[in-house]
């Protein structure tokens, strides 16, 4: 059945994200919070994350493009991004933020630029993957199916 296949695809896809380290167990926790009383929780939160992150990345680009970089401004942004990415389970984004912060502390502009690129890359990656994930889920729901619960076994 197509539905079953879709569900299988979804599971495999999700699994791959975990295996690649794009997502971590925190994302699982989010999924577990989703229930009948909170049916779109994950997508809502992730949407918020995207909004926040787009804004932060923007601010970061601007800050780093200044003649004189004000690290006191840069660091809080990165910190916030680190916090929110870790909260939704975007592991690679978070890790990139951690590295970013060390360069901030060192006030290394060049390093920060590189980190920003890295963060952006990871961010777009996870954004892309999650959007695909949600599409798969929507297809399943649209076909009358239920989104399978993620097994923790892997």
């Amino acid at each position: 059945m197509e539905l079953v296949q879709m569900q299988k695809s979804l599971q495999d896809y999700t699994k791959s994200l975990f295996l690649e380290g794009v997502l971590d167990s925190q994302f699982l926790q989010l999924q577990q919070l989703q229930d009948e009383s909170n049916p779109d929780f994950v997508s809502q939160v992730v949407t918020l994350f995207f909004q926040d992150s787009d804004r932060i990345l923007n601010d970061l680009s601007l800050s780093l493009d200044q003649q004189v970089v004000d690290f006191k401004k840069v660091d809080p942004h990165v910190h916030q991004l680190k916090g929110s990415s870790s909260s939704i389970g975007a592991q690679r984004v978070k890790n990139a933020c951690v590295v970013f912060r060390t360069f901030c502390e060192q006030q290394n502009v060049e390093g920060c630029h590189r980190c920003l690129q890295q963060v952006k890359q990871e961010y777009y990656l996870v954004k892309n993957r999650l959007e695909t994930l949600f599409k798969l889920e929507q297809q399943i729901v649209a076909s009358g199916g239920v989104i399978p619960a993620m097994e923790l076994g892997f």
Binding site: L33, F49, Q80, K82, G83, S87, I88
Partner: protein, 586 residues
């Protein structure tokens, strides 16, 4: 059966516990909100600290607990923490993506009753209700000292309460009753709706004279009442007044002597405002204490307090209190220390109404000074205080015994609190301060009971329970490596041992430990030198770690194991590895 469990059984709590969540990051806020809902708490969220303060100010009793992010654009989270603790006296939990121990320390010293790292896990949130329970419990316990539910209530007031299961039960009952009282906003725990007695200066003078005559430790409401010989004054009135007085003394003990001199007025202001107790602002003295101690040192009394507050509370107190056996000594120790220091400072958010809100006195130093000059004469300055110094002083001596004292810290591990591993690491940090500052005595590990509490409460998660902690401890570990020794547990070897509370603690600690850690402890205790001390500490710590295991065998084994691998243990390992491995022994 723990107090907390009893209380949980008592009403619906923690279901429906009202939490105010503050975080400027909407993603995190949303997640937090959901997690809290999942824990069945009642959640209010705001992304602005200012708004949070407004909400809190608008109705004091609207919330049970506040969780706040540290980094917020409109107001520093620590500032919010302080304000909430001062004004509303609510437990506040800090939340941050900063795992840097400095921040954790800051949180603790500003009075946070817990510090959670992002990403927050639901397991941690499931525990936070204990902070509410604990804060009420502490407040009541202070008032317990003066309360005579039965005639035996007065024995060794400051000391006996914490000593044993009987005291536990009594306190439990007291707590239960007070819990209801508090919810009714009734400031007099021993009566329902009697006409309020106003304690005038004259009346208070008589009271104090009577107490002096009887001796502070022996003062019992009935006798005081008889001595005072005042019509229409009931034993209950005296009892509650005594309770407040004792609590008041505890709060100010270890503090400016100047206040002692004017303590009567100070106290009266507090108690008469009794609403003063409930509401606020009182004399500078206490405010000074808070301000001075906290601000100035955050330091001297603070870190240990902070530690106590942070560590003791979740683990030590919570865990220890629930015990009825040997750890009672820890509790015993805890109490005076806690009340002395903990209550004063670190329990900022935890100080409750019954005991009078010293903290709220912070804004009014000037006022107090004026009052002081005016009223000094009419007050019996030194006398009453003279009678009581025995109490507070014992506290003091058990308190920051100055830099030469290292304090034995119990093992909060076993606590049901969110973060045992985290705690350990934090504690370790704190110890570096504690070592350089004053003593903070902590209870010995509650071992079995608290563990069983934990497993009782969090059965499903018990094995995985440790895991999140482990995760959270990891970030802290590296920081520790730099100076492992300094972080190690400190043991109070000196005069403290002879001091009443400390002494008892010490003895029982020895006793308790002798079975388990005999050689280690003895070596520690006999050395009494810092070096030998520190080395021994590690062992002791290991020993304590062992205690958690819940069985003598485990303890001995782990002690031995850890002694062997002593050199290998880094803070992180000790806190984390040892901890988790012991845990799984359970």
């Amino acid at each position: 059966m723990t107090v907390e469990q009893d209380c949980v059984a008592l009403d619906q709590f923690p279901v429906g516990m009202r939490v105010l969540a503050v975080d400027d990051d909407q993603t995190c806020l949303r997640i937090l909100e959901s997690l809290l809902h999942r824990c069945q708490y009642h959640v209010t969220t705001t992304n602005q600290a200012q708004k949070a303060l407004e909400l809190l100010r608008e109705n004091k009793n609207k919330f049970d607990l506040v969780i706040s992010d540290v980094d917020m654009p409109d107001m520093d989270g620590f500032k919010l923490l302080e304000l909430v603790g001062l004004e509303m006296d609510l437990p506040v939990i800090m939340l941050s993506a900063h795992s840097d121990p400095k921040y954790v320390m800051k949180g603790v010293t500003h009075g946070a009753c817990d510090y959670l790292l992002k990403p927050v896990r639901i397991e941690e949130l499931k525990n936070i209700w204990q902070h509410v329970v604990r804060s009420r419990f502490d407040k009541n316990r202070g008032s317990n000292n003066g309360d005579k539910k039965d005639g035996s209530g007065n024995e060794g007031v400051a000391n006996s309460d914490q000593n044993n299961g009987r005291a536990n039960r009594k306190r439990k009952d007291q707590y239960n009753e007070d819990e209801d009282e508090e919810r009714d906003d009734n400031d007099d725990p021993s009566s329902q709706k009697k006409p309020r007695v106003v304690w005038t200066v004259e009346l208070h003078k008589k009271f104090v004279a009577a107490v002096n005559q009887l001796g502070f430790e022996k003062a019992m409401p009935k006798k005081i009442l008889d001595l005072m010989n005042v019509e229409k004054l009931t034993r209950e009135n005296v009892a509650s007044h005594l309770q407040k007085f004792r609590l008041y003394l505890k709060r100010i003990s270890g503090n400016q002597q100047a206040i002692m001199a004017n303590s009567d007025l100070h106290f009266l202001q507090m108690s008469n405002g009794l609403d003063g107790f409930h509401h606020r602002p009182i004399p500078a003295g206490s405010g000074q204490f808070h301000g001075g101690a906290a601000a100035a040192a955050g330091m001297r009394p603070f870190p240990p307090n902070g530690i106590l507050g942070r560590l003791n509370t979740p683990s030590g107190i919570g865990g220890v209190r629930s015990l009825s056996s040997s750890p009672s000594s820890g509790m015993f120790l805890q109490n005076p220390t806690d009340l002395g220091k903990f209550h004063h400072v670190s329990s900022l958010p935890l100080n409750h109404i019954d005991g009078g809100n010293i903290l709220q006195g912070l804004p009014m130093p000037l006022e107090f000074d004026q009052l002081q000059t005016n009223n000094n004469k009419s007050i019996i300055p030194g006398n009453s205080m003279a009678a009581f110094p025995s109490f507070p002083s014992t506290q003091q001596s058990s308190l920051p015994n100055n830099n030469s004292h290292l304090v034995l810290q119990g093992h909060p591990q076993a606590s049901p609190s969110a973060f045992p591993g985290h705690q350990i690491n934090k504690r370790l940090e704190h110890w570096s301060n504690a070592v350089s500052s004053s003593s903070s005595t902590l209870p010995p590990p509650p071992a079995q009971n608290s563990n069983s509490i934990m497993s009782h409460q969090f059965d499903d998660g018990s094995s995985s329970y440790s895991i999140p902690f482990c995760d959270s401890t990891i970030p802290l570990a590296p920081a520790m490596d730099t100076n492992p020794r300094a972080f190690y547990r400190t043991t109070d070897l000196d005069s403290n041992a002879n001091v009443q509370p400390g002494g008892v603690y010490y003895d029982s600690l020895q006793m308790r430990q002798s079975g388990n850690y005999g050689p280690t402890t003895d070596a520690l205790l006999s050395s009494n030198a810092k070096e030998g001390f520190i080395v021994g500490q590690q062992k002791l710590q290991s020993g304590f770690m062992g205690a958690e295991a819940g069985s003598l065998d485990d303890i001995v084994n782990s002690t031995m194991k850890q002694e062997q691998s002593q050199g290998d243990l880094s803070e992180g390992d000790l806190g984390y590895g040892g901890f988790s491995s012991l845990r799984t022994c359970l």
